[in-house]
């Protein structure tokens, strides 16, 4: 399988582009940590392993935090939480956004009822997007208390309009091609034609956006934790670590916030880079 991958187009493409290679490696590392992180962490991730606020040393590479928990161990365990939230919320947003996008795009120029329905979807999306993203998530989590499920719901809700708009745009283009008419002539109902023929040809941009959205969802999850509306402590989560660590930074204990911060920055950057290059890869007109 490895050999097949190394001969494949994607690897060839990535090899020539350092940005994508970097993104690729970090994304894979994140996934591996999400699967095995808590198992390989050298110290417990939610219990003290030494004195409070130990500076980085041979024993605790990235030091310990105010409660004496090993920072490195918490970082290793964090993708399981951050990535789960990001993946699940993005998957929900993707499914709902693409589905609504296909419907609103397909019926945008059809019969009267279809047009009204399509317009209603778009106006609702406008309203959702009219709220500042962060405030909206805060309100949602604030209403029903901090928990992982709430963070996921809030993020999913926020991301639906983006997937919706991206998909609708491509559907509008694909809709005007004659194979859609051919599908109707073959006996498809409009709804069937929309999902069986238009959607597969209009889904690529949303797929690419998926990767970018994961990166930003990690950032947003951390952001929510930072303002106290995310997952409850002492869950090993990057935003939470930064929030707790930020208070110690003023007193000179820089390691508690810096290392999780760096990891967050690198992960977000990697997912975005990977997504960007993936778009180029998937669009054959950009290749020779």
């Amino acid at each position: 399988m490895l050999r097949q991958f190394l001969d494949g187009d994607l690897w060839r493409f990535a090899r020539a582009r350092p940005g994508m290679l970097f993104g690729f490696v970090v994304v894979v590392a994140n996934l591996v940590l999400a699967l095995f992180g808590p198992l390989v962490a050298p110290y417990p991730t939610e219990a003290p392993a030494g004195a409070s606020l130990l500076p980085p040393s041979g024993q605790h590479w990235f030091g310990t935090d105010v409660s004496g928990i090993d920072v490195l161990s918490r970082m290793i365990a964090s993708p399981r939480i951050d990535l789960t939230i990001a993946l699940v919320s993005t998957a929900i947003a993707f499914t709902a956004g693409v589905g609504l996008g296909v419907i609103s795009g397909f019926f945008a120029q059809g019969e009267r009822t279809g047009r009204i329905f399509s317009a209603a979807i778009m106006r609702t999306a406008d309203i959702v997007q009219a709220f500042p993203m962060f405030v909206f998530a805060l309100a949602l989590v604030g209403l029903s208390g901090p928990s992982m499920t709430n963070v996921i719901v809030a993020l999913a809700f926020l991301n639906i309009p983006f997937f919706l708009r991206i998909t609708r745009g491509t559907v509008l283009q694909v809709r005007s091609r004659t194979f859609v008419e051919a599908a109707l002539c073959a006996g498809n109902t409009e709804l069937r034609a929309a999902f069986a023929h238009v959607m597969p040809n209009a889904i690529a941009p949303a797929l690419v956006h998926f990767s970018t959205t994961i990166g930003f969802s990690i950032l947003l999850t951390a952001g929510l934790s930072f303002v106290g509306a995310g997952v409850p402590p002492p869950t090993p989560e990057l935003g939470l670590m930064i929030q707790v660590g930020a208070q110690n930074m003023i007193t000179g204990h820089w390691w508690t916030a810096l290392f999780p911060g760096l990891m967050l920055a690198i992960s977000v950057l990697a997912f975005s880079l990977f997504g960007d290059h993936l778009r180029v890869f998937l669009d054959p007109t950009n290749r020779r």
Partner: protein, 613 residues
Amino acid sequence: MTALLEVEGLSVVYQGDRKTVPILDSVSFKIDGSETMGLVGESGSGKSVLLAAILGLLPAPWKITAGSVRFDGQELRGMSEAALQKIRGGQLGLALSNPRQHLNPILSVGRQIANVVRSHEPQPLDQALAKAVDLLRAVGIPDPAGRAQAYPHELSGGMCQRVILALAIANAPRLLLVDEPTNGLDVTISVQILDLLRSSVRNLGSGLVIVSRDLGVVAHYCERVSVMRAGRIIEEAPVRSFFAAPREEYSQRLLRASAAARDADLSGEAATEGREEENRAAPVLELVGLVKRFPVKGGRQLTAVNDVSFTIRRGEAVALVGESGSGKTTVGRCILRLLKESEGSIFFKGKDITLLPQQQFRDLRSRIQMVFQDPFDSMDPRQRLGDAIAEPLRLTTTASPAERDKRVAELLELVGLSTAAGNLYPHQMSGGELQRVGIARAIATNPDLVVFDEPTSALDVSVRADILNLLRDLQRRLGIAYLFISHDLTAVRRLCHRTAILYLGKLVEIGETEALFEAPMHPYSRALLSSVLYPNPDQVRSPFALTGEIPSPIDLPSGCPLHTRCPMVTEPCRHVPPPLEEKTPGRRLACLNVPAWSALAAPAPAEPQPELA
């Protein structure tokens, strides 16, 4: 005397990421200062790359690897960009196809011409603009001073092509290169453009190279022919001897493919066979007063189809002919219920399908099918071809999966493809093969009627003939009624029993194909038929021609829609809409000035019953 343009051993490659593909393989030709040469070849033969290479306009992945291009004794290859620019658009004029694409959308056309004039001969803008107006007049644009202010999107395709021509001759070039001058233009406009091209080249006394896929154009407007195939010039000959007896086997094939319609054996066969029973057969499709209007911005309406009525009987092939904007495609879409008509009725086997709700019409889908114009666009790129053919069977019939597979294999064979083709995806096939799949899909359910929407116009000439033969063959064997929508008159003549001619949404003439082609009676039909350029330099074209442009269907002219262009126009034409009347047996037309059947016309085949109840 040395040649004006001399291309020698020119080779071009395309450098991709993976591999390098040769595009041109040591192409050589010469052209004198007052010669007209036609460069023919199918798409992909390298014609356009050759033009770009001559002009030094090849973009990055393409690269010239060998050869020389000498213009007037000067080597163009390796010349500085500044020096090249002096020659390009100066002594060496260029007119590209797709005129609208090659005009700058944000500058008025007068300004664009003036810019070209000034870049080669610095002068005040006023003076250049005045010259632009002169040029627009020279290319036959009415109201040139007014049109000089117009932007490209305000002009029709034919007008844009004239502007491109004005740009090309702005600096009185000694050689004019023209790429597909009639691409995308209607036949009656095409001949106007070509005549203009010829006369302007004659006035300037310059040479002309016409690059075209259309052998008819070359036969009528060129003195010499070069045939290109796969990046090589395979034959070069004077026009007359080429069309009389092409040397190369490929040229012969090309010529045979596009010659078709004038061959007596082919057309005679198509028109008459087995007609006696069909005349008595019950109508499959009957259009009664079909009208389709589209709302346009500003509350106005575009009338695409204006009161069209005709009948198709069982097993009959009827052609719907007209130029772009005539509404022929709209008629097809209304029949398939892809569009909802504004007025009128469509009877399918006696049942008015305009009254059926969508759900019930879906049950009829298996009885009426359609083949689309662009085979690449009409196939789902992510669906295997076998699945595409099986889809109507799956959705509209009760056939089991095994029966479907069997039927798909049968159909693939019927349209001349191997059964393995069912496993391929659309991008793995050529246009012609894909159109065969489109046909297989349409006949999968054994429909009573198939609507063909320009099924050959996106295909290359040599493939076109094969597809037409297939269609004729299938029609004979399966007895399916055809509505064949086309502007390709040669195809119509070969395939259809009867022909209906549309102009601006109105039916102007309908009758037996052969009789109609022999003796068209309506002035529009006469002009249309005389605009067809057959690949025969000795064809005598009737001087009967239309003037001007097709009016906009948004503000239809009052009275007869043709009165703005008709050479036979009289005063009543401007006010009285002509009714569609039977002027000779079996021939109905809408013209006030064509007398009813008298002893003058050639005998037309008798038609026992009127076509409309």
